[in-house]
């Protein structure tokens, strides 16, 4: 029997593309023959905007990339400028950055878990993770004053010291995190329907993952142990004892499961950081007008989505000459077209959710 394929425009406005993202699907019945992802609907030109602003003024714009883990976005950019200027960041700042960064990672992973549950159909998982995320965001609000776009990092330090009530509140939350993770496990991970939907679906082999520059849980789900916090410990991550959760099959389920495990590991890191945090200044000696010497620097951190890097070129003026962000979501998406081929329409949603993109970051 001769059949024809047809084209389905998944997006730009679709409940499961997590923003404005479009996938042109060529479908044979419900099976995907060809998938062409089309990003760019949220392109705001942050890299160009940065060229018209001073180094400090770029920080609020980095928030707007991965707004689910804005602290980490701040960190990557600030690290690049500090590398360019050769600033040694005070001890306490490093600890504060680790604490808020890991809290941000927890908040981001909670979204990823909930959104994936919601995309598979379990809307309750979505509300549960959002409910728990509010507690994490409360802590970050206590520190920075904002709930989503924190703008908390400064070049050479952070905007303000941790308030006193932050420590007991964080410890209280950390004690609740294992119960939260168990609840997600019970509700979603252990669910047979969820497993049937995600196991052996959208398999990324380690070779393809490395070839396509995937990073973060998307790559680690395939069993590649590449976490910058362990591979090339930046900041003070070499002082903490934690594990890198790895998947075995590289399917959607592994990518999902890893995120829950990473929340547990982040909890361990924060606990250690809270125990070790020293007193001290929260700002390095930085000139009032930030004028890095001419040159370029590339710094990268492990964000919740993967390797987030910032490439900053300075010409000696107070404004950056060129800023480029290596956004993990964008590069992880590059493999999506190939990954979706041969799967069902419903699997495309599961695969997209398991990669965990934030469109603000994809389009920058």
């Amino acid at each position: 029997m001769k059949t024809e394929t047809y084209t389905l425009n998944l997006g730009p406005q679709h409940p499961s593309t997590h923003g404005v993202f479009r996938i042109i699907l060529e479908l044979d019945g419900e099976t995907v023959v060809k998938a062409t992802p089309v990003p760019g609907y949220l392109h705001r030109g942050i890299e160009k905007l940065a060229e018209a602003r001073t180094y400090t003024q770029v920080i609020p714009y980095t928030d707007r990339m991965d707004y689910m883990a804005a602290m980490l976005m701040n960190w990557g950019y600030v690290a690049a400028v500090e590398k360019l200027m050769g600033i040694e960041v005070p001890e306490r700042v490093e600890y504060i950055r680790v604490i808020v960064g890991e809290l941000s990672r927890i908040a981001s992973h909670q979204i990823a878990i909930g959104a994936m549950g919601g995309d598979i159909g379990a809307l309750t998982a979505f509300t549960y993770t959002f409910r728990d995320r509010e507690y994490v965001i409360d802590l970050l609000e206590m520190v920075s004053g904002s709930r989503m776009t924190f703008s908390y990092f400064r070049i050479g330090g952070v905007a303000a010291d941790l308030p006193d009530e932050f420590f007991p509140a964080t410890r209280k939350l950390l004690n609740e995190i294992p119960a939260m993770c168990d609840e997600y496990d019970d509700l979603v991970t252990g669910n047979e329907i969820f497993q049937a939907r995600t196991k052996q679906v959208g398999i990324i082999t380690p070779e393809m993952g490395i070839n396509y520059s995937l990073s973060g849980p998307t790559l680690r789900g395939s069993g590649v142990n590449y976490d910058l916090r362990k591979a090339r410990p930046y900041s003070i991550y070499d002082r903490f004892d934690f594990e890198v959760p790895l998947g075995t099959n590289g399917d959607c389920f592994d990518r999902f499961r890893i995120r829950i495990d990473e929340i547990r590991q982040s909890k361990r890191i924060i606990e250690q950081a809270l125990d070790q945090i020293p007193e001290g200044p929260i700002m390095a000696k930085v000139p009032k007008v930030i004028k890095p010497p001419a040159g370029d620097a590339y710094a990268e951190i492990e964000s919740s989505k993967g390797v987030y890097g910032a490439y900053v070129v300075s010409d000696g003026s107070p404004k950056p000459y060129r800023v480029h962000f290596r956004r993990p979501s964008f590069i992880n998406l590059g493999y999506l077209g190939e990954l979706c081929e041969g799967w069902k329409l419903a699997d495309v949603i599961a695969i997209l959710a398991s990669i965990d993109i934030v469109l603000g970051e994809v389009d920058c």
Partner: protein, 352 residues
């Protein structure tokens, strides 16, 4: 007193009319119309209760409060919803097949209403006590498949088309285990009349003698009503709203309404066939029969909702595989075991 309240009202109405000198034919016709209007009102009331219940339960499960602003405890929320839906623009996209597009939301209502005519909602409380009630119900229920398909096809939208194709595949397939699961009960009772099936459960409910059939019926019932984990037809995160994507305002509202009504029917059927219908357990007959019926029905509906807000959605190939590889063989095996059991029990004289 409460036991026969509706029968009493009907008798009273008949008496009033005959004493007023209305001919018998007219009398019967008017009474039938009154019954049908009662069914209509009953369905609408139930829809409002269900709408409120669904949102409230969803809220409670999700650590929210659910609707609680309109009226005391948000009880008037369904009215507000209906008002909102009525107030919305009835938008008809240019490319749709206009006649079919507008016909389907009106037709979607017909099968559920027709079914209500034969459901015994209490002792002597079926509008029409048909002797082929179960058969009639399934015959009518199958009609809604083509209506969903028509809605999707006429929308001229690929999401709608996928949704409606899924609807056809799913509803046609799941009808089979649904009917097969009832077959065991029908074999035991030897009747298709719903009231007789209920009466046959006087000693023991069929949920205890036919547990597998009940399970199959429950699963297939969820699939028939297109609810999670089998809500592929709407599949919100995949195909927006399936066949309903292009509908707006009241034309859209008809579909959820029909969905709720079919949920009532599925729950009512499971009550009638497996949970002893209006029969009171433990001999607690001080509660009227129709109240028992609603109690059981709403417990079933609650379980439907509970399941809906807990589970994720299944995939389309898994859905069909589950049906043809698990449910249908299981249902057939159940029929076989029932038959053998009947023969054996008859042979040893435990059952006549």
């Amino acid at each position: 007193m409460g036991e026969n309240i509706f029968v009493g009202i009907a008798t009273w109405l008949r008496d009033v009319m005959s004493s007023a000198g209305v001919p018998d034919l007219w009398n019967d016709t008017i009474l039938m119309l009154v019954k049908l209007v009662t069914v209509l009102v009953f369905v609408m009331l139930n829809f409002m209760v269900l709408n409120y219940m669904e949102r409230r339960i969803a809220g409670f499960i999700q650590s929210r409060r659910g609707p609680n602003r309109v009226g005391p405890h948000g009880l008037l929320q369904p009215l507000a919803d209906i008002g909102k839906m009525l107030g919305k623009e009835l938008y008809i996209p240019k490319s749709v097949d206009k006649i079919v597009f507008l016909l389907m939301p009106t037709l979607i209502f017909v099968p559920p209403f027709l079914i209500f005519a034969v459901l015994p909602l209490g002792k002597n409380m079926a509008a029409i006590d048909m002797n082929i009630g179960v058969f009639y119900m399934f015959a009518i229920a199958s009609l809604s498949t083509i209506i969903l398909w028509g809605a999707g096809w006429s929308s001229n939208n690929k999401y709608s088309l996928i949704g409606s194709m899924r609807a056809v595949a799913q509803m046609v397939s799941y009808e089979l285990p649904l009917i097969l699961s009832l077959l065991g009960v029908i074999m035991i009772t030897g009747t298709l009349n719903m009231s007789s099936i209920v009466e046959a459960q006087n000693n023991i409910w069929f949920v205890f003698t036919q547990p597998i059939a009940f399970l199959i019926y429950f699963i297939a019932g969820i699939a028939e009503t297109n609810r999670t984990p089998f809500c592929l037809v709407e599949g919100e995160s995949e195909i927006i709203a399936g066949p309903y994507t292009e509908y707006s305002g009241m034309t859209y509202a008809m579909f959820p309404l029909a969905e709720f009504v079919s949920m009532i029917i599925i729950s009512a059927m499971s009550t009638i066939v497996f949970l002893g219908g209006w029969l009171a357990p433990f001999g607690w007959t001080f509660i009227p029969s129709w109240l028992w019926f609603f109690l059981k029905m709403y417990v079933m509906i609650f379980i439907f909702m509970w399941v809906r807000w807990t589970y994720p959605r299944i995939r389309v190939d898994q859905l069909m595989g589950f049906n043809w590889k698990v449910l249908v063989p299981l249902a057939l095996a159940n029929i076989f075991i029932t038959g053998v059991g009947m023969y054996v029990f008859r042979a040893i004289g435990w059952w006549s």
